[in-house]
């Protein structure tokens, strides 16, 4: 055969996956229609059950089967290729672990991110004072309430709440960043970046959650993180420049004006926005600490809490 087995297997898996997904959807409709007497009329139920065997579809299925048979026939095993002599030990390959995530995983991950924020605000508090410290304390309390709400939702779904901060975020973002935090401005930058990351992460999670009620719940938190970020951008802008970032200006771009005050090190701070644009982005957030700019990406499968 002139086609590699891998390619053939890939094609076969793609077809099988499409078929499996279609069958799941159909099964859901059938279940819903027959579990509730009012959900569908007798005619509708008959159509749902027998529609697949209507004349037109019978012909379709017939053609489908013939074509499938042709491919399967063509894919039959051929004689094994001539073996290449090999000396020594064959390297051992270990298959990568397949990790599936579901609603519980996403909720546990969100709760862990809230606890990252709680820890970061706790550490940042020592650098803050006055109204800024009071605002940070309010936001920390919000995150505590969010974590509890996410834990409750996790329990409702039969999962076990994750009562710790996300270890990946802690190890790769929080701890390295805290080593660079030396001033109130640094602390605000870190808090701002974490709020942006949380807002973007929750937005990312919305289409992954299976139920509308869970999407609603996660964005009742995500929108608040976005509000936190805007408040912190305002405060941070005021700290960076006497005039602050002001209110957003209209123009060809739909983003607010940037603050690019150069710190003592001479490295310009990244742009700071009250509003990221017409739509909330799913993007990495920048944090400027001690003259260094770090990028913090929204959480993905590698940092989910399974």
């Amino acid at each position: 055969m002139d086609i590699s087995r891998d390619e053939l297997n890939r094609e076969r898996r793609a077809i099988d996956q499409a078929n499996t997904e279609a069958m799941r959807s159909h099964a859901s409709v059938l279940a819903a229609a027959f579990e509730d007497d009012d959900a569908a009329s007798a005619d509708d139920k008959a159509t749902l059950l027998l529609g697949g065997l209507a004349r037109r579809r019978f012909l379709t299925i017939g053609g489908f089967s013939v074509a499938t048979a042709a491919v399967l026939a063509a894919c039959g095993k051929k004689a094994a290729p001539e073996a290449v002599p090999q000396a020594g030990q064959t390297p051992v390959t270990t298959a990568l672990v397949t990790r599936n995530y579901n609603d519980v995983v996403l909720l546990r991950t969100a709760a862990s991110l809230e606890r990252n924020a709680i820890a970061a605000y706790g550490a940042a508090a020592t650098f803050l004072s006055g109204a800024t410290k009071a605002a940070a304390e309010t936001f920390r309390e919000h995150h505590e309430a969010h974590a509890v709400a996410l834990d409750d939702q996790t329990k409702k779904l039969g999962g076990e709440p994750f009562a710790k901060a996300n270890p990946v975020v802690d190890e790769r973002v929080i701890q390295p960043a805290l080593k660079l935090v030396q001033t109130d401005v640094d602390a605000l930058w870190l808090a701002h970046a974490l709020e942006e990351v949380a807002a973007h992460t929750y937005q990312t999670v919305v289409p992954l959650l299976s139920l509308p009620s869970l999407r609603q719940a996660i964005m009742s938190i995500g929108s608040v993180e976005a509000r936190h970020a805007t408040v912190l951008a305002k405060v941070l802008g005021a700290a960076l420049a006497p005039t602050g970032v002001g209110i957003p200006a209209a123009g060809p771009s739909t983003v607010a004006p940037a603050t690019t005050t150069a710190p003592a090190s001479g490295v310009a701070a990244p742009p700071l926005y009250l509003l990221p644009g017409s739509f909330e982005p799913v993007a990495a957030s920048l944090v400027h600490l001690s003259g260094q700019t770090l990028s913090v990406a929204p959480l993905g499968p590698n940092s989910f809490i399974y």
Partner: protein, 241 residues
């Protein structure tokens, strides 16, 4: 057999398969449509019936184990499109409110750019929602909302009064999108709404800051997502009449 022939056969199989899938999709759409019509007749604008029909099995699975085996639909279902169409009218009503605010000459030079920017955002939102709603999109401002907010802005006697109306409207819009997220079934529609809701919330924060509102007024602990929390009830502001 050569690769070309094999690929041709695979394509044929794929086309046949997709044709079969189209039939399954037809069944799904017809079932959801039927539920939507029944629900609408019962007086529920947000079409809980469709949600029950399609999400019912998912809800049962999730409540039992926290996992589902049925992926939610990506494309908006008929009930989603009905809601998206209404949401577009909300965005265009917000545009009309900002138009009135900008025309009223009550805003200072410092605030005008922000009002113009927020107006632009609402246009972008309306366009994105319209693109997802497709042919059903009406492209009109919600008449009831324009009637409720427009005269208030026109009759406002100060900048603070105008901005206060905009602040309330932006908060109401954010809450309304929270309400919508609880009923939308298609993930494409949910994702779009989730990208709009935080922006409306940020608008409210900026306006609240200019108005000198307290931090708690600018940032609630949780974003409300029901009419008690300020969400606009679509049934109270229908597109018709």
């Amino acid at each position: 057999m050569d690769v070309t022939r094999l690929r041709r056969l695979l394509r044929e199989v794929d086309e046949e398969h997709r044709d079969t899938l189209r039939n399954v999709t037809d069944d799904l759409t017809a079932a959801a449509d039927a539920a939507s019509r029944r629900s609408f007749l019962r007086g529920s604008l947000l079409v809980g019936g469709a949600a029950a029909l399609v999400a019912g099995p998912m809800a049962a699975a999730a409540s039992a184990t926290g996992t589902t085996t049925t992926a939610p639909p990506k494309q908006p279902l008929p009930a989603d499109i009905e809601l998206l169409t209404w949401a577009q009218s909300l965005e265009l009503a917000a545009v009309a409110v900002y138009d009135a605010a900008l025309a009223g000459k009550r805003l200072s030079d410092k605030v005008v750019p922000a009002a113009a920017l927020f107006r632009r955002h609402h246009i972008d939102h309306a366009e994105a929602i319209g693109a997802l709603a497709g042919k059903s999109a009406r492209g009109i401002a919600n008449p009831g909302l324009v009637k409720a907010f427009g005269p208030k802005v026109a009759n406002a006697t100060s900048e603070a009064e105008v901005l206060g109306i905009a602040f309330d409207l932006e908060n109401a819009a954010a809450s309304t999108y929270g309400l919508a997220l609880g009923v939308l079934l298609g993930t494409n529609a949910s994702a779009l709404v989730a990208s709009i809701q935080p922006i409306e919330a940020r608008h409210a924060v900026v306006l609240g800051d200019v108005l000198g509102k307290s931090l708690n007024a600018q940032v609630p602990q949780f974003q409300a997502s029901d009419t008690k929390g300020g969400a606009i009830d679509p049934a109270a502001y229908p597109l018709e009449g």
